[in-house]
Amino acid sequence: MTEVSMTVNGKPVKADVPDNTLLVQFIRENLRLTGTHVGCDTSQCGACVVHLNGKAVKSCATLAVAANGADVTTIEGLANGEMHPMQTAFKENHGLQCGFCTPGMIMTATDMVARYDANGKELTEAAIREELEGNICRCTGYHNIVKAIADGASKMASS
């Protein structure tokens, strides 16, 4: 067991966990933040994406102990009294059906918008599709997710 402490959604948290605890287990089972999902065993689906020190990572392929001292944002940390613009965009563009992949999609989406913004690059439709390489959706066929991310990007720019 190792004591880990980190900041999750702005709040300091601390727990004793076995060293082989994945970050996603820590988030779901210790913190009971179950918005972050586990959709696969092979790091392919992206349902578990969270932001670790501001960058999108797969929390199923990261150890909780390795995130000691880190700043973590999960889907629960995005809304701030009202929905985050990217969440609104997913709702308005019908970017989800069952919703299982959605937390990971939205965390990936906000990360890509921030990166393209920081690099002064245009987030084209083709770029959005490329960037979704590591996120799998079994329902929507992706078109509305791509539309939602483009819309969310412009909502984020104007908010």
């Binding site: 082989n20 994945l22 065993d41 150890l63 960037e131 390489e133 590591g134």
Partner: protein
């Protein structure tokens, strides 16, 4: 995942001594291959020694045409480094196409080459660039480093510190990703270095990454996709599996080599 003991090393020498003290230790960097492998019970190290935070293993520098990349530098950092883009865009672009964005935020160049997965991209780049791999103990040329499938010249407990190479006149990578896994079915890195043309092939050879002597000879003095057309690539020594048979891979190697050369 089986139980394991996690250690965070703050220097290369500390990592070496932690590895020495461990029963069956493994170095952990980005963990993007190792952790899924452990989850699948295909690896069960007694100890994990995390090297991702070691300062001397992080970062990229370009000095007098010599590019040095710390072993714990992530794919995203390699892809986004402005000095590297200028000195050798082929390597930055290769990094930009490894895995997916989340994997690139954690996965590292040192982890990739230490694992030497036959379908990994970096080994082809390092071999084609004639790179030098610096460890805690010695310097190893890429030609000596990559030994076979998942095999390298590294000794137990040896830690890769950095990778360096001379900025080439030209360098480009082209890969044909498996449509499902996105790993290279065949990837070719072609470079025009001070030692002449060098061509390395990933994903296709049944003994891992290798250099293609005939293509190198054809490109020396005639750096063009046309020069590749005249080279015959046989199916002997090619991987053959459900993703593609040997003849298909041989053809892909030639097509990817043409694209790599045409791309730079």
């Amino acid at each position: 995942m089986y139980e394991t003991k996690y250690h965070k090393a703050s220097s290369v020498s500390e990592a070496v001594s932690l590895m020495g003290a461990a029963d069956d230790g493994k170095l952990l960097s980005g963990g993007q291959t190792l952790l899924p492998t452990m989850k699948a019970h295909l690896a069960a190290p007694s100890d994990l020694v995390d090297v991702s935070g070691i300062a001397e293993m992080n970062g990229i520098s370009v000095n007098d045409d010599i590019v040095t990349i710390g072993a714990a530098t992530t794919h995203a950092e390699v892809a986004g480094n402005a000095a590297l883009q200028k000195a050798c865009a082929g390597v930055a672009d290769l990094a930009a196409n490894i895995g997916d964005p989340a994997v690139r935020h954690l996965g590292t160049i040192g982890g990739s080459i230490a694992n030497n997965d036959p379908a990994a991209d970096y080994p082809a780049a390092l071999l084609a660039l004639g790179a030098t791999i610096k460890t805690n103990a010695r310097e190893i040329t890429a030609d000596d480093f990559f030994v076979g499938l998942f095999e390298t010249a590294l000794n137990d407990d040896e830690v890769i510190v950095s990778i360096s190479f001379e900025a080439p006149a030209k360098a480009c990578y082209a890969k044909f990703p498996n449509p499902a896994s996105r790993y290279a079915l065949a990837g070719v890195f072609a470079a025009l270095t001070t030692a002449g043309a060098r061509v390395a092939v990933a994903g296709a050879g049944d003994d891992g990454v290798y250099r293609h002597a005939d293509m190198e000879a054809a490109l020396d003095g005639n750096w063009s996709a046309d020069a590749i057309l005249g080279v015959s690539v046989g199916a002997d020594g090619m991987l053959s599996d459900m993703h593609g048979d040997a003849a298909y891979r041989a053809n892909l190697v030639k097509v990817m080599a043409g694209r790599a050369v045409a791309g730079c």
